[in-house]
Amino acid sequence: MKHVVLNDTHIALGAKMVEFAGYNMPVSYAGLNKEHLAVRNNAGIFDVSHMGEFLVEGPHALELIQKVTSNDASKLSDGQVQYSCLPNETGGIVDDLLVYRKNAETFFLVVNASNIDKDWAHISKYNESIGARMTNLSEGMSLFAVQGPNAAQILQPLTDIDLASMKYYTFAEGTFAGVPDVLVSNTGYTGAGGFEIYMPNAQALHIWNAILEAGKAYGLELCGLGARDTLRLEKAFCLYGHEIDDTTNPIEAGLGWITKFTKDFNGRAFAEKLKNEGVQNKLVGFELTERGIPRQGYEIADASGNIIGRVTSGTQSPSLGKAIGLGYVKTEFAAPDTAIFIRIREKDIAAKVVKTPFL
């Protein structure tokens, strides 16, 4: 099992650790609900150093990114970030990712920890004929997410980057806690606002401690991956391995908005066919109207007990106090307010399709 730089720090701070994507990671500290609500109402910090980072450089960098991703990276200006995905050759998704444009010939890609090796091999395969310069920075970089409405106030004293004016999905590089050239982006996976901070491993402990010190006066909460998951689910953000995987198509997954037919890309034909002919299944949000908690893999049934889909994620929403989930259903059951049933321990529990995000 791999370890993030701060592994021992997390244990000393009282984190409960679990294996995730091959890394020993904090799943919670004081308790998931407390961490979750702190991020919604105040601020919390997550160590997400398990995430992967690739640098793509040179005169063919954009050409490579355009070939392998579904969104249109030519629309990016310096300092902008784009959510995108890597379609595969069979209509599925290799991974979802963020594309940062540093300049016209330098792009920084952030990928899921569980997919680092797969993504690297996939992109490298297309790079053989394109010839961009690729560097896998994953092992040497740490990443912290400081999320919540008070994130900017907590972090601003540490950096010369103007955080208040930084727009959503943009980034800057500057001095942070005395460390030069730290990349800070207005991004995150919580829907609560906040920033992600990328740094070399050697600076990680220093920066972590500086943020915790700056956060003391605000009650900055230590948060684990458990709260990160419930926060993203309330906003209906896709999680690789749940809503999307090698077999799900971006169109079915509701990712048509990052699938741009203004350019050619690997997997375009599949996506275009589904877009034109219509999909059989759609990813929807639902809430339970009877007691129960939906979980990944549970079947979704209609009123007659016919299986019409499956749950991809589910939880008791800490913010809403009710059971919510995402899942694929046959298209005729995808309209909001449609009655569906979640099969939990051989019982069909009533639910209804709702609009997302849930919050």
Partner: protein
């Protein structure tokens, strides 16, 4: 880690408080900590008589779901009514307010075969 001396324990992290031929059953402080924030306790076996190690219900935390096992055989007389609206009582007070079921033991002698506090402490490394 609280492990009251007057209770008996199962290897599945349930506790048993003997009260004559009846007994109260819940989960241990260690178990609630491992599960995290508990959001739903589902017990639909009231009135049934179950064997030792049979599943009497399910506890759902935000991230995980876990079965609940009978430490001894018995008839389920009552389910803690407070858990329907306040499942978090299991986190806050696992040995008292967070009790789960009250049973009539089929064979009260079975409770002697369960772990005492010291043996349970050794099991969880406390």
């Amino acid at each position: 880690m609280s492990i009251p001396k007057d209770l008996r324990y199962s290897k599945d992290h349930e506790w048993l408080r003997v009260d004559g031929e009846n007994a109260y059953i819940g989960i241990t402080e260690f178990a609630q900590g491992e599960l995290g924030d508990i959001v739903f306790v589902e017990i639909e076996t009231a009135g049934e008589t179950l064997e030792a190690n049979a599943v009497f219900g399910t506890v759902e935390a935000v991230k995980t779901v876990s079965s609940l096992y009978m430490p001894v055989a018995g008839e389920i007389l009552e389910v803690n009514p407070a858990l329907a609206d306040s499942p978090e009582l299991v986190n806050q007070d696992p040995y008292n307010e967070g009790w789960m079921i009250r049973i009539r033991m089929t064979d009260p002698a079975q409770s002697a075969a369960l772990l005492d506090a010291d043996a349970y402490g050794a099991l969880i490394g406390a």
